[in-house]
């Protein structure tokens, strides 16, 4: 009989029940291997296990057939989806006495793609072996792997949408074995085999189809698992051209570089996780501040890194591109992972992912603490993330919630000349209170829901809403002892411990509708989608100077309340012509409104007597829009050429706006030219190459003196990317990328009172941007040996990152950074043990470098010349993890 597995867990139970209760048949090999029967000699296989066969020794114990323990669903070959078929591949499987699959051969082929997918899947299955009495015996079983199309339409119009292949499960549904059979049915006429449904991973299919350009990268879970990652931010390194550092400790957002952009904490990258945007507009520490610390690496199913701004769905901060963390857990069950390691690091991870439920349904939590790899780097954090996916064919939805808190010490930065002279250690902190009192506390709570309705002709309606509350209190000191109080100029020399507070309540909504596919001619078909997004942010900000260690406030720099509103609208076309040409794109426009209550605005320190009440309230509103389009040409099935152009924007820091100012957006114009080559039905080899040119009307760089981003004027990036992924065998995953970038300043820096004639040469490099970023990931995962009733499997992986010398201001160059990480693990039944090593060569490197003036001595004449400062990267770090999956 053919068993249809609607959900793996139910199927497993059903299969076990049926195997026990029915006359499912298997051949007991015993000591005499009867050999693999001919495919046609089905009756030879169907040894009756339930009743002694005629002539059989009545003393023989009944054969209890093998039972499925784990049966990961096969993957429907994406390349065959357009055909709209639902074939059944019949396999003849040899199950050993230990329950391991010993041999598989195709008995009834349905083509190379389906055969391979079925074989690969069944090889991963585990069985409770067949038994005769108390003895486990080898057996042969016939397994029918039935491939079904997704129960909903593929969301993007493709060939299948215009061929009458709409999936109607009811038409193809076969009666379940549990359903009453018709009277008179002879079970011997049924196919007494196990079966499984192969459901296409709809999300994976959608993700691939959403890739618009050659620079639109999806990093799947297999690639993410190759190399170890301390946190979700480090996962971004697997994407081409991305470099991630965390120079300000575990409670402050990462510093991210992508494609010639030093995005700082997110100013040039639109980042989302679980459908909720993470960037925070007008954040005091950095425009577009996006802290990825709350994302647990274990719940990241895939990463989509869209380099460039060519998609009308991309909104604010999508200057270099956008990043989306898709959350989900492939491993199911109750999972516990306990980690110990270097520097007193302890982490406890706990997750529950119900078997049979969707991958996007899970609950996970983690607690982590560490003493840190150097002085003043201890941290603690706690995270809870939960999602529930619901719905079926027509309606689907996801509920998401996250709670997060982290507190960490900051070591801040060190002058390189102090390190070189031995006045301070590379991993130390300046031994003065304004340095040792640096710390940060970050919290986040968010709730989101998305609903999606899919029609029979690929039309789709989506709606979503989210609510988030974030908080950051950061105390940092980049400059030592240089500040003077503005409120009372007699207060000086108390240390530049700069406290920044950003407290935000944010909420947003989105809605979109895609029309049914339209085919005006046989060679042309397409659709259009229109949508809107909106977000409202209510922000309280404050910046003070504190005297450590008692944290007395001795100066106030910022005290403001902001209200920002962003309403975006877009239209997105998707049209195919003659099967080789695809045009996607449209327009996007955003309206941004600001209300700023700057309670310290108009404050003039000491030079004028008080003649007014300090404070400056103002409002501003602006409109920005632009086109985005990509042309994709696919001359042959494995090769696609892309040409793209797009215009995006970044909103300004609200407090820089004047009354009634038409909001001065930083506008970006970007162009891409690329090619993608795919080899193999399972993407055994993918090669992507692209060149890009991006111009930004107003760029911003981090100024340590103010600990904020300051404008520098227009800039241009010119670069190229090469990205290769390979899965030559199912157990081996490899990827590598090289990204070149040249970032230049297009005009003299903005004059200031302190620097009214800034030097400028055409073609002057933008500091901090690395010209070359390399990344390689290689990993292998394989079953090793059957032992103790379970399969022992192993996994090893290596990740390598290289950052070339980055230009710094004032003619300096940072040292290149080369980091090698590796991990290995063994898994046996429900137990897993793994080790991870980071920076295996124990390289002493700077996670980030700046160039500015500072004074850390209280007795020596201070230098006012800008000089190199560094934030140390972590030395060799070792972690060991014990995991249990129930």
């Amino acid at each position: 009989m053919l068993i249809r597995f609607c959900r793996p867990s139910a199927a497993l139970a059903l299969g076990m029940l049926l195997a026990a209760a029915s006359d499912a048949r298997a051949q007991d090999l015993g000591a005499n291997d009867a050999g693999v029967p001919d495919a046609g000699a089905a009756s030879d296989i169907h040894a009756d296990a339930g009743r002694p066969s005629a002539g059989a020794d009545a003393g023989l114990l009944a054969l209890e057939p093998p039972r499925i323990v784990e049966s990961p669903s096969p993957d429907y070959p994406p390349e065959r989806m357009a055909e709209g078929t639902e074939p059944t591949v019949v396999l003849h499987v040899l199950v050993g006495a230990d329950g391991r699959v010993r041999d598989v051969h195709v008995e009834q082929s349905m083509g190379v793609d389906f055969d391979a997918a079925a074989v690969v899947a069944v090889q991963r299955w585990t069985f409770a072996p067949a038994r005769r009495g108390e003895q486990s015996v080898a057996s042969r079983v016939r397994i029918a792997v039935h491939f079904t199309l997704p129960e909903v339409e593929v969301t993007q119009p493709d060939e299948s949408a215009f061929v009458e292949q709409s999936a109607e499960p009811a038409r193809r549904r076969r009666p379940l074995p549990s359903e009453p059979a018709n009277a008179g049915d002879d079970h011997t006429d049924h196919d007494h085999t196990f079966g499984a449904n192969a459901h296409a991973d709809l999300a994976a299919t959608e993700r691939r189809d959403q890739q618009r350009t050659a620079s639109d990268i999806v990093v799947d879970r297999d690639q993410l698992e190759v190399a170890p990652h301390l946190d979700a931010g480090e996962m971004l390194r697997t994407a081409p051209g991305v470099y991630v550092a965390r120079p300000e400790g575990d409670a402050v957002a990462q510093q991210i570089m992508l494609r010639g952009f030093d995005a700082e904490h997110g100013q040039d990258l639109a980042i989302s996780a679980g459908g909720i945007p993470i960037n925070q507009p007008s954040h005091l520490h950095g425009q577009g501040y996006a802290d990825l610390g709350f994302i647990l690496p274990e719940v990241v199913r895939s990463l989509r890194v869209t380099e460039g701004v060519y998609d009308p769905h991309q909104g604010d901060f999508a200057v270099a591109g956008s990043i989306d963390f898709e959350l989900g857990m492939r491993d199911r069950g109750l999972i516990s992972r306990t980690t110990y390691g270097s520097f007193g690091t302890f982490r406890q991870f706990l997750a529950f992912a119900p078997r049979g439920a969707r991958e996007d349904t899970f609950g996970a939590m983690a607690f982590r603490r560490t003493n840190g790899f150097g002085a003043n780097r201890a941290s603690e954090s706690g995270t809870m993330i939960a999602q529930y996916g619901f719905g079926g064919a027509k309606w689907r939805g996801v509920l998401h919630t996250t709670l997060f808190a982290a507190r960490a010490g900051l070591a801040g930065v060190l002058r390189r000349d102090d390190v070189d002279a031995g006045r301070v250690g590379f991993y130390d902190v300046y031994p003065v209170a304004p340095a040792t009192s640096q710390s940060a506390l970050s919290t986040r709570a968010q709730l989101g829901v998305t609903l999606e309705n899919r029609g029979e002709r690929s039309e789709r309606f989506r709606i979503g809403a989210w609510l988030a509350r974030t908080h950051l209190r950061l105390r940092s000191n980049f400059t030592g002892y240089r500040e003077r109080s503005r409120i009372n100029p007699d207060w000086v020399g108390r240390g530049d411990l700069n406290e920044q507070l950003n407290d935000a309540t944010s909420m947003g909504a989105s809605a979109s509708y895609r029309l049914p596919a339209f085919q005006p001619a046989s060679w042309a078909r397409g659709t259009i989608e229109a949508g809107a997004t909106a977000r409202l942010d209510l922000i309280d900000q404050a910046q003070n100077l504190l005297q450590a260690p008692q944290n007395e406030t001795w100066d106030q720099r910022v005290d403001a309340t902001l209200q920002t509103l962003d309403i975006g609208m877009f239209a997105d076309l998707d049209w195919r012509f003659a099967k080789v040409l695809r045009i996607r794109g449209g327009v996007r426009a955003d309206v941004l409104a600001y209300d700023i209550d700057d309670r310290l605005g108009n404050f003039i320190p000491r030079v004028r007597p008080d003649s007014y009440v300090v404070g400056y309230r103002r409002t501003a509103l602006g409109l920005v829009g632009g086109p985005r389009a990509t042309v994709e040409y696919t001359p042959v099935r494995s090769v696609s050429l892309f040409v793209s152009y797009g215009e995006g924007f970044r909103s300004p820091q609200a407090r820089t706006l004047d009354e009634g100012e038409t909001t001065p957006f930083a506008k970006v114009r970007s162009g891409d030219l690329g090619v993608r080559y795919r080899l193999g039905s399972r993407d055994q080899l993918n090669i992507t190459a692209a060149g890009y040119l991006t111009s930004l009307s107003t760029d911003a760089v981090f100024e340590p003196e103010s600990a904020r981003l300051e404008p520098v004027g227009p800039t241009t990036r010119l670069g190229a990317v090469l990205y290769v992924t390979s899965k030559p065998w199912s157990w081996l995953t490899a990827s590598g990328s090289a990204t070149l970038a040249r970032a230049t300043l297009d005009a003299p820096p903005i004059p200031t009172n302190a620097n009214p004639n800034p030097p400028y040469e055409p073609g002057q490099l933008l500091p901090y941007v690395p010209p070359l970023v390399l990344r390689f990931d290689v990993g292998a995962k394989r079953n090793l040996v059957r032992t103790g009733g379970g399969m022992l499997s192993g996994r090893v992986g290596v990740g390598f990152s290289y950052l070339s010398s980055r230009p710094l201001p004032y003619g300096n160059f940072a040292d290149p950074v080369a980091l090698l990480d590796a991990s290995a693990s063994l898994k046996w039944r429900w137990l897993e043990f793994g080790v991870e090593g980071y920076n295996l060569t124990n390289t002493q490197y700077a996670a980030t470098e700046y160039s500015f003036a500072s004074a850390w001595s209280t007795t020596e004449i201070p230098s006012r010349l800008p000089t190199r400062h560094l934030s140390a990267g972590a030395p060799f770090t070792f972690l060991a993890t014990l995991g249990v999956t129930l």
């Binding site: 010119l718 620097n755 010398s805 003036a853």
Partner: protein, 265 residues
Amino acid sequence: MSRRIESCVWTVAFALIGCGQTGQEVYPLRVEGAGTATGTLIVPTRAPPDPAPVCAPPCECGSGDWEVTLEQADVAFGPLYLCASVRAGPELCPESIAEMLDVGVVDALDPAPVLLGAGQALTGRAQSAMWDYGRSWLLTQTEVVPDPRAPGGHSLVLRGTATKGPTSFRFAADVDVDASEAGLYGVQSAPVTRDFAGPYESLSVRFDPGAWVSGIDFDAVACGRASASEVDVSFARTSIAYNSLYIAMNNSRLPTLVGQSSAAP
């Protein structure tokens, strides 16, 4: 330099991206100090007020000018900061374009240059400068702290003789040009025009003590003596003469700063 080459190698190898700089390189800066041979100075007698007071000893009531001979003028100089802003000062000049952190002492009567100290300079134009005369008041200190190299702990040690007619006396002044509050400088802002282009930079600071002295009212000094027989006069910190020297060094008679870029040290 090697890192720049490495950067160029990668970019040139792909024949896609050129090499470049972020602008503003750093160059070594040599700072020298020199004085001015003053010889015998003629300091005019100030016009008396109207109505003129009755002149009596110890004042010198004769007509004519004072002849002043300087015997010692040791001046401490440093630290020095040159700024891109039109006016210097900690708030307008958070980062300097050139600086010398050393303190040196110059015989301001000797025109031969001596090395004051070494510093660094960035590419660019300086339009102002600020400095101390060997006595600094850091932000983190509660009072002015003289550099050990400052002569006697003072900014200027001045000795000389003033003669007019039958009146002659030796005078001494130990002048401290101090910042008015912590974090400021003895000379808060002085105009400078200097373009730094590298690769070797030099700066010459020329002191003219005769100009400092020319503003002293020696008639008042003579009148301020205890008696006509007093021949050693020390300028008290509260005296007009002391204040005259202070203002001259701090504002009205600043040393000149000139220099040049050169291809060789």
